[in-house]
């Protein structure tokens, strides 16, 4: 017997999305905008050319606080957090005992005398993440931010649009954080995002969300963008989507996330699954995440098996779709070491016929992060 699914929760900007004509769909327990009247392709291209406003209020926000918070969080994540400077933001993963990824998250060290870490985690996993943090790190306090919304503003015009409302954001470098006062409320801004473009993620009180979003949307360069284009943008940028390109069976090295494993930590360890991850770092993982370009015009979707020239199964696709920027299908997947060389030709079954895909480096569209 299956329990009935609980009714989707409402995000703070629900009414605004509906007024803007969004097609709302259930996603990770929330009703979220999939796209607005212009459609996914137009929204995607608008973000690459100007600025896209995304509501990401479904994601989990929390402050982990207490003496030794950075050192203690390091027992669950492979990032170097002790060395993380205040007002700096870092990408890392919560790992299980086998080194598999339980979730990927952003960690910001907040300023001030006390050790406080601001965490942003995935919507579908937030309840499990927060329970895990409380169970494993009982000496710290975890303040889940239940009344904060979150917006992302992404694209080459994002900085101009945001600095008109929050002067000073233009000073931030990639992965830097700053608190701003807006109408007496605390806005937390990081220069980061998940589209490959320059841009910002803004944590703000729910009560300010609609007013602030409307102010941003008054700018003709800013358009509301739904989850559909968020997915195609992150796929072009070669970024992992939790539950698709990352799951508890995948470690960060095979996922191509070695950059996020601290140098000190590669020697010292002290995080779950260290032996597997050290072995993968030293000897290369048995499989790895690669970019794939399917021949022809038909997208090859998640779940398709990848075959080598002899017809042997060597992996599968974890994200596949259509790239609006390149106007062609693109995909990512995991491929056995011997088959993961750039230029290698693989095949996938598409409705009974074999389509060739070539292994290519990621990302498909170059990142345009701003580093000061």
């Amino acid at each position: 017997m299956t329990a009935p699914a609980p009714a989707p929760a409402k995000i703070p900007l629900d009414a605004l999305h509906r007024r803007l004509g969004a097609r709302m769909v259930p996603f990770a327990g929330y009703e979220m905008p999939l796209h607005y009247p212009p459609g996914i392709v137009a929204e995607h291209l608008h973000t690459r050319e100007k600025a896209g406003l995304f509501d990401i209020s479904h994601m989990g926000q929390a402050i982990l606080a207490g003496a030794g918070a950075t050192r203690l969080l390091e027992t669950l994540c492979p990032a170097d957090l002790i060395e993380l400077a205040p007002e700096r933001n870092r990408y890392t993963q919560l790992l299980n005992e086998a080194g598999g990824v339980l979730d990927d998250l952003m960690v910001t060290r907040l300023p001030g005398r006390d050790e406080r870490l601001f965490l942003v985690v995935n919507a579908a996993t937030k309840a499990v993440d927060f329970a895990l943090l409380q169970e494993k790190l009982p000496q710290l306090s975890l303040h889940v931010q239940k009344t904060r919304a979150m917006l992302a503003l992404q694209g080459p015009r994002a900085v101009d649009a945001l600095q008109a409302l929050l002067p000073g954001v233009e000073e931030l470098g990639f992965m830097e954080w700053q608190a701003f006062d807006y109408e007496g409320a605390g806005f937390y801004v990081t220069r980061s995002g998940y589209t490959g473009e320059d841009g910002f993620e803004i944590s703000l009180p729910e009560s300010k969300a609609e007013g602030f979003a409307l102010r941003l949307l008054e700018n003709p360069d800013v358009a509301p963008i739904g989850l559909g284009a968020r997915d195609s943008l992150r796929l072009e940028a070669g970024l992992c989507l939790y539950g698709h390109d990352l799951d508890p069976g995948i470690d960060p090295v095979e996922a191509g996330l070695s950059f996020s494993i601290g140098k000190r930590r590669r020697i010292e360890g002290g995080f779950p699954g260290f032996e597997r991850i050290r072995d993968a770092l030293q000897n290369g993982p048995p499989r790895r995440r690669v970019g794939l370009l399917p021949q022809g015009k038909a997208p090859i979707r998640e779940g398709a098996f990848l075959l080598d020239a002899g017809g042997a199964e060597v992996g599968s696709i974890t994200s596949g779709g259509f790239s609006p920027s390149l106007s062609r299908p693109i995909a990512m997947g995991y491929v056995a070491r011997g088959a993961a060389t750039t230029g290698n030709a693989l095949h996938a079954d598409l409705r009974g016929r074999l389509v060739e895909l070539s292994v290519v480096p990621l990302p498909f569209v170059p990142h345009r992060y701003v580093r000061h």
Binding site: L34, I40, V41, G228, S232, A298, P299, R301, F322, P329
Partner: protein, 124 residues
């Protein structure tokens, strides 16, 4: 548009003598979103009523299109290979999928006329 019939799955057939031109309705293209690829059957293929006729790929997902009637494919809309977005722009016109030679005209009576289809849309 009195020569058109519709299915509850939002396919249409426009009757043209012994042939029928099949595509998806405006409602369907709106639901599908940006269409990026249409896979059409080979000319000469025989298809039974309710069998899969085509696959439509939007940015997000693949969707199957079923044949409203039984027949033999006499033409597939080759222009969709180059411009699949035509289905979004003109679903009832240039965005047609397939021309079928009907093998059982009696099946048409089981389909909705335009008024019935409009009522069906309002009931959704």
């Amino acid at each position: 548009m009195s020569d058109m019939r519709f299915t509850t799955d939002h396919e249409y057939i426009r009757i043209d003598g012994e042939n029928g031109i099949i595509g998806v309705t405006n409602f369907a293209q709106e639901q599908l979103g940006d269409i990026v690829f249409v896979e059409l059957p080979e000319v000469g293929k025989r298809i039974a009523k309710g069998e899969q006729l085509a696959t439509v790929e939007s940015v997000k997902a693949a969707s199957e299109v079923f044949s409203p009637v039984s027949g033999e494919v006499v033409e597939a809309n080759a222009a969709l290979e180059e411009n699949p977005a035509t289905v979004n722009e003109d679903p009832l016109g240039a965005g047609w999928f397939v021309k079928l030679r009907l093998t059982n005209e009696g099946e048409l009576s089981g389909l909705m006329d335009e008024a019935a289809y409009e009522a069906h849309l309002r009931s959704l």
